[in-house]
Amino acid sequence: MVQFVVDVLMRASDLVLIAVGMSAIYSLMKFPNIAVAQYAASGAFIALVLQKGGIPIVVAAIIAVLCVGIAAVALNELLFNRMLKISSSTAMIGSLAVSMLASAVFLLAIGPNPTRFSLPITRPFRVLGARMTENQLTSLSITTAAILCFALLLFRTDLGRCMRATATNRLLAEATGIDTRRTRNAVVLISGMLAALGGICLTLKGEINIQTGLDLLLPVFSAAILGGLGNPLGAAAGAIVIALAETLITGINFGPAFGRELLFMPAAYATAGSFVLLVVTLIWRPRGLFVSEVKRV
C-alpha cells in the first residue's frame, strides 16, 4: 500500500511541474502551448550535456533551467505573440511545430539512445516498507519545493497578484496600471523554468530519450485540463489524479476475476488511462474538476 502511494507520487512528480507550467502559460497567453513538454526535455538534455562537459550537476541544472526559461520568453516574443494575433489555434499549431523541430534537434544533438546523469549508485532504502532511492527522494523534494515556491509567488507577492489579475481580465488589469506584457513574459519565463526543472527531476530518477517529451505530452495535457487549463495549482492536483489512474491500471491484479492467479494490464496501456480521463473530463466537466460551473462575469 505504501509502495502504491510512493509509485503514485513518483509518477505525479514526473508530470506535475510540466503540467503547472503548461497551465500557467495558458492562464495568461490563452492558448495551450504544446512545446512546454519539449521545454522539459530541453532542460534535461542541456543539463545532461553540461554535466558530461564536467560541470557539477547542481550548476548544470541551474544553467539549464535559466536557458530554457529565456528560450521560452524568446519563442513567445518572436513566434507565439505574432501567431496569437491571428488566432489561438494558430499559436497552438505553431507550438506543435516547435516541439516537432525540437525532436529533430534532439535526434541530431543527442542521438536515439537513452541517457542519464552520471551519479553514484546508491542502494534503495525502505520507507514504511516501500523502496525508494536517494535520487527519487531528492527529485520528489525538489518538485514539492518548486510547487510551494510557485504557490507562494502566485498568492503572496505583487507579481502573483498581477498575474492573477491579468489572467482574470486583461483589459481591466491594464486599466489599473499593470504592465501586462511584462507580467506575461514573467509567467512564460517562470513556466519555462518550471518545465525545465520538471524534466531534470524526471531524468534524476531515471533516464530520458528523445521521445520522452512527446510521450509526456498526453498525460501532462490531461493533467492540465483535469485541473482546469489556466489554473496552475489545479494542474498539480490533476497530475496526482492522472498518476493515480495510471498506477491503478497497471497495478490492479485482474487475475481472481478471470480464475487465474495473476493477470495484469500490459504497462503500455497506462497512458490509455490518462487518455480516457481526458475524454471523460472533456465531456463531463469541460472546464476542469476544480472550476465552479458558474462562469464568472
Binding site: N113, I121, P124, N209, Q211, T212, T250, F264, P266, A267
Partner: protein, 363 residues
C-alpha cells in the same frame, strides 16, 4: 563517441563509391539504438572477415566491399536501408540485422526482391519459415529456450517470472522457455512482453514481483536491459536471483554493480577453429570480444564469400545453391555450421555463464 565513430564508419563506407570491379554486398546493423553495442561488434566481425578475404586476393579475384547501413534499432529505418541497398547499391546479398523483429521484415523484403539474406544475429523461430533464400548462421530459439528452461529447473527453481521484448524474438523465446519449463514440472507465475524503447520498466517489474518467483528470467536488448537491471536494483528485485537468456546481450550495457551474480545462458561464440580469430580481434580492436555476436557476422561474410567464389557469379540464385552446398559441412569460428532443410543452422552449442567481478565467466 562510439556512436560518432560508427556513424563515421557508415559515412566512410558510403563515401568511397565502389569501383566497377568491386564485389559489393550489403549489411544492415543496429549501429545506434538499444542494441548499438552488439551492432558495432557485428560490424567488427565483418571488418575482420573483409580484411582476411581481401588479403587473400578477394572474391572472384576482385576486392570485397560491404556497404553497411544503420537500422537505428527500428524496423522502418531498416526497411528503408534495405530498399536503398537493393535499388541504389544493387547488392546480391544482405547480412543482418540483430533484433528478430527487424530481421524478419527486412528478410521478407529481400526475398521478394530475389536477393540472398544471411541472418547473423537473430534467433526467432519465425526466421525458419522465411524461405530458402534466407540462411541462418546462428541457432534459433526453439533450442535455446529449452536449454535455458532446463538450466533454471536444474538449479532448483520451481516458480519463475519471465520478461522479454514484445517482438518476434521475445514472443518466441518466452514461448519456448515456458513450454519446456512447464513440461519439466515448474510454474511460470507471469510472463510479460515489454514495449521496446521505454525509459522506464517499473510497472512491468512490479507486476512480475507480485508472483513472488524463485527466479526472474529475462532477455532484453542492451540498453533496455540496462534500464531493467537498474530499476530491478532500485526496487530490490535483485535480491532474488536473475537468470538471463543470452546473458552477454543482457549485461553488455548495464552497470556491473546491478548485474553482479546474475546467471544465464549464451551462445557458444567461439568454436574449435576460433582461436586465431580471437587473436586477430583483440589485436585489431585492442579489447576482448564486446559481445558474442561478432563471430557470427564473421562467419556469415566468410561463407557468403566462399559461396560467390564457388558459384563463380554474383547472381543471388546461384549464390543460394552454392551457399546451401557449402553449408553441408563448414568449419566456422563459431564452431561447425551445417544447414538443415530450411537453410538454418542445425546445431548451436550454448554456454552456461555467470557474472563474477563484472565479467561473464563459465558457470
Amino acid at each position: 563517441m562510439k556512436k560518432l565513430l560508427s556513424f563515421g564508419v557508415v559515412l566512410a563506407t558510403l563515401a568511397g563509391p565502389a569501383t566497377a570491379q568491386d564485389i559489393v554486398i550489403g549489411a544492415i546493423l543496429p549501429l545506434s539504438g538499444a542494441s548499438a553495442t552488439q551492432g558495432e561488434d557485428q560490424r567488427r566481425g565483418m571488418e575482420l572477415a573483409v580484411d582476411k578475404i581481401n588479403a587473400a586476393g578477394g572474391v572472384l579475384g576482385q576486392p570485397l566491399k560491404i556497404v553497411t547501413e544503420d537500422s537505428a534499432g527500428n524496423a522502418v529505418t531498416a526497411l528503408t536501408a534495405a530498399k536503398k541497398l537493393v535499388t541504389v547499391d544493387n547488392v546480391p546479398v544482405v547480412l543482418g540485422e540483430f533484433s528478430s523483429g527487424i530481421t524478419i521484415p527486412v528478410a521478407d523484403y529481400l526475398l521478394q526482391q530475389g536477393r540472398t539474406h544471411i541472418n547473423i544475429g537473430s534467433s526467432s523461430i519465425k526466421i525458419r519459415d522465411l524461405g530458402k533464400g534466407s540462411f541462418s548462421v546462428i541457432g534459433l530459439d526453439n533450442v535455446s529456450g529449452a536449454f535455458g528452461a532446463e538450466d533454471v529447473f536444474k538449479s532448483g527453481a520451481k516458480k519463475v517470472a519471465i520478461i522479454a521484448p514484445n517482438n518476434a524474438y521475445g514472443q518466441g523465446i518466452v514461448d519456448a522457455f515456458s513450454t519446456k519449463f512447464k513440461e519439466l514440472g515448474g510454474t511460470v507465475t507471469s510472463s510479460i512482453l515489454y514495449t521496446e524503447g521505454q525509459t522506464t520498466y517499473r510497472p512491468e517489474l512490479q507486476q512480475l514481483e507480485k508472483g513472488k518467483p524463485d527466479v526472474y528470467v529475462y532477455s532484453a536488448y542492451g540498453k533496455e536491459s540496462a534500464t531493467i537491471n537498474r530499476e530491478s536494483f532500485e526496487l530490490g528485485l535483485n535480491e532474488t536471483p536473475w537468470y538471463a537468456l543470452y546473458l552477454t546481450m543482457c549485461t553488455a550495457d548495464s552497470e556491473p554493480q546491478y548485474v553482479e551474480g546474475q546467471i544465464g545462458m549464451d551462445l557458444n561464440y567461439i568454436g574449435t577453429g576460433g582461436a586465431d580469430y580471437h587473436k586477430s580481434y583483440t589485436a585489431k580492436f585492442k579489447s576482448d570480444f564486446t559481445s558474442t555476436y561478432n563471430g557470427f557476422a564473421y562467419d556469415g561474410v566468410m561463407m557468403m564469400a566462399a559461396a560467390i567464389d564457388k558459384a563463380k557469379s554474383t547472381e543471388p540464385a546461384k549464390i543460394n545453391v552454392a551457399l546451401a552446398e557449402i553449408g553441408k559441412n563448414y568449419q566456422g569460428v563459431t564452431g561447425p555450421i551445417t544447414f538443415d532443410d530450411h537453410n538454418q543452422r542445425s546445431a548451436q552449442p550454448y554456454l552456461k555463464l555467470k557474472i563474477a567481478a563484472g565479467k561473464p565467466v563459465t558457470n
